[in-house]
């Protein structure tokens, strides 16, 4: 493990150095929220934000990408993405979501080559949370405002400087590579980091997820699913913004005389997601679709991967137009 501090004023130098051989993505204020965006040395980084509007899954599993083109001799795969990408500022909850997505996309038998290539090319510098939102609940599941799982380097904002700690060998190598821009942290800075992390942790909302989850399997046929989702519009924004939702579809389409295969994000919130050509649909009601989404996150993935596929980022709560709160849904249905 390596420790280092970088002055916020020197971040531009780091960006410039990284950009010579790869890309640097950092937090940029877009007016209606902060987004993880490619930056160059002169750009202003936003360092005061709760979280990005969009989860980082799109950097590894884009909304839509052309997988291959069809020719007379078969299919030609789209070349894999190349080049190092440094992603700075992802919050620990979102970084944890990548650990979960790895379990889906990097299984032994059928690893997804595009996801793998982007993961292999990435250096992730996560940024610990200072001020959780009321919708945040990472500590109720498995996260922490300064959680390290999934990050190569964890950065903690302690005023004028960021304190960096390497988590993986990739992170340690990165810090060695750019060691000239880093200083050794003082004892005061290290203790200030502890205090900052503890303060953020103390502000986090707590819900008893474990108790509710334990009861969820037995509540498959509960009438509450339909009652709770009576106001759900089925817009799917919860799945779009969820850092762990990973449903997709493969589509063959013809564009400009060219046949191509596209992989695009999809969502279990939509009725056509499971609609079969015969007309049969195993999930006809919104309540059944909501049940599926909840069961998948809190039961099925726990059984198949040993992890609850929710990191407590709260995006689904913040953005639901019908004011649905996943924490309430979970506790209500488990009553």
């Amino acid at each position: 493990m390596a420790l280092g501090v970088i002055s916020k004023e020197h971040l531009g130098k780091l960006i410039a150095a990284v950009s010579r051989t790869g890309r640097f993505l950092g937090p940029v204020d877009k007016g209606d929220g902060v987004c993880l965006t490619q930056v160059s040395a002169g750009d202003m980084l936003a360092l005061d934000y709760v979280n990005f509007i969009l989860p980082p899954k799109r950097m590894f599993f884009p909304r839509s990408e052309v997988i291959a083109t069809h020719g007379s001799d078969g299919m030609t795969a789209t070349p894999l993405p190349e080049g190092r990408v440094v992603l700075f500022g992802i919050r620990p909850c979102d970084v944890l979501s990548l650990v979960y997505l790895d379990k889906v996309f990097l299984d032994e038998k059928y690893a997804d080559p595009y996801y793998r290539s982007r993961r292999d090319n990435a250096v992730i510098i996560s940024l610990a949370c200072r001020q959780p939102a009321p919708t945040c609940f990472c500590t109720s599941i498995k996260g922490s405002p300064a959680g390290k799982a999934g990050a190569d380097i964890l950065a903690v904002d302690i005023g004028d400087v960021l304190l960096l700690e390497s988590v993986t060998a990739t992170g340690e190598a990165f810090m060695a590579e750019y060691g000239k821009l880093l200083d050794k942290p003082s004892a005061e800075q290290v203790s200030s980091r502890q205090a900052q992390v503890a303060a953020a942790d103390a502000k986090m909302a707590r819900v008893s997820i474990d108790q509710a989850t334990a009861k969820l399997r037995a509540r498959f046929d509960a009438a509450a699913w339909d009652e709770l989702t009576a106001r759900c519009l089925g817009c799917g924004v919860c799945t779009f913004l969820c850092p762990t939702c990973h449903c997709f579809g493969l589509y063959d389409e013809q564009v400009g005389g060219q046949n191509r295969r596209v992989r695009a994000q999809d969502a279990c919130a939509f009725p056509a997601f499971t609609l079969e050509a015969s007309g049969h649909n195993p999930r006809t009601r919104q309540g059944m679709r909501m049940r599926h989404r909840m069961m998948h996150k809190f039961c099925y993935t726990a059984e198949s991967f040993g992890e609850i596929f929710c990191v407590g980022c709260g995006r689904c709560i913040r953005s639901c137009p019908a004011n649905l709160d996943i924490r309430e849904t979970l506790t209500e249905v488990s009553k």
Binding site: D73, F248, L250, N259, R261, D266, T274, E276, P282, E303
Partner: protein, 287 residues
């Protein structure tokens, strides 16, 4: 870094349509006999009875279809496809002609429990066009290289009308084969039909195949499955010895896209074959 095509699980292999057989009077069921364009692809395609593959028509899309030929049919792979007017891929497939090219990837999913079936009697119950992967299984078991591995085979197979029965030539040929007891039935006969009339579950109740040292493979529409389970349980089959193949809409076929989930199991990866015991655990016994 370059990657060889075989490592990309989303790419289909080119195949040529060698032969198209219209199976039924309604002409919405066709069997496509496909041959791989590349020898390496053909040799790499090894499957067991009950598995499926994704068939694709360039520009139209992909559909999961059960493999209807036997693993011992070395030179070709067959799929029987039902055309739905709402089905983009099945409609495009049915418009194709012999000699044209399709894409194929797979095989995917698990298979019927062939190892557990060895040395046991096999009862096959099927209705409609769900018979396809069971036809693969019958062809496989009746092959001279395999026949001694399995006990007696009892088949109860039904369709709405005589014209809707699949694989008519084989059904006729199997009547004369030792070691397989064929009971072919139609919901309603017509002029010239001298065979049995009656729904599959009713015929099953009449034939009453013994459950002693037996395994039952059951495929059909959900309503048939529902009424078939009871007579099987009544004759002494236990949920662990009854197997069926489930269908769900699929996209990736490899347990990632989230579409074919049933109670935490993916039909594409953990199925499509499930024991009735598993179905009871997953859905409370609903199909």
């Amino acid at each position: 870094m370059s990657m060889c095509a075989s490592a990309n699980p989303y790419l289909a292999k080119p195949v040529t349509i060698e032969k198209i057989t219209v199976e039924n009077a309604a002409r919405d069921l066709k069997t496509f006999r496909l041959a791989f364009c590349s020898r390496a692809d053909r040799e790499a395609f090894k499957f067991d009875c009950g598995q499926f593959a994704m068939l694709s028509v360039g520009g139209a899309g992909e559909s999961p279809i059960g493999i209807a030929s036997s693993p011992l049919d070395a030179d070709y792979v067959e799929f029987t496809v039902k055309r739905y007017s709402t089905g983009v891929v099945s409609t495009a497939l049915h418009a194709m002609e012999e000699g044209e090219r399709l894409g194929l990837r797979g095989p995917y999913g698990n298979s019927y429990p062939l190892a557990a079936m060895e040395g046991r009697n096999v009862v096959i119950v099927s209705g409609g066009f769900a018979f396809t992967t069971l036809r693969s299984t019958i062809r496989y078991m009746l092959d001279g290289r395999n026949r001694s591995r399995f006990g007696s085979i009892t088949t109860i197979y039904g369709a709405r009308s005589p014209g809707e029965l699949l694989y008519k030539d084989e059904l006729k040929a199997w009547q004369d084969v030792d070691g397989i007891d064929m009971h072919v039935t139609v919901d309603k006969g017509e002029a010239g039909w001298t065979g049995r009339e009656g729904f599959v579950p009713t015929v099953l109740g009449e034939v009453k195949p013994s459950s002693a040292n037996a395994v039952a493979l059951v495929c059909g529409p959900p309503i048939m499955l529902k009424f078939t389970i009871k007579p099987l349980l009544d004759t002494g089959f236990v949920p662990e010895t009854i197997f069926t193949s489930l269908e769900r809409r699929m996209s990736c076929g490899i347990g990632k896209c989230g579409r074919c989930d049933i109670g935490g199991k993916y039909v594409c990866r953990d199925g499509p074959v499930f024991s009735f015991k598993q179905i009871q655990e997953l859905t409370g016994g609903q199909f």
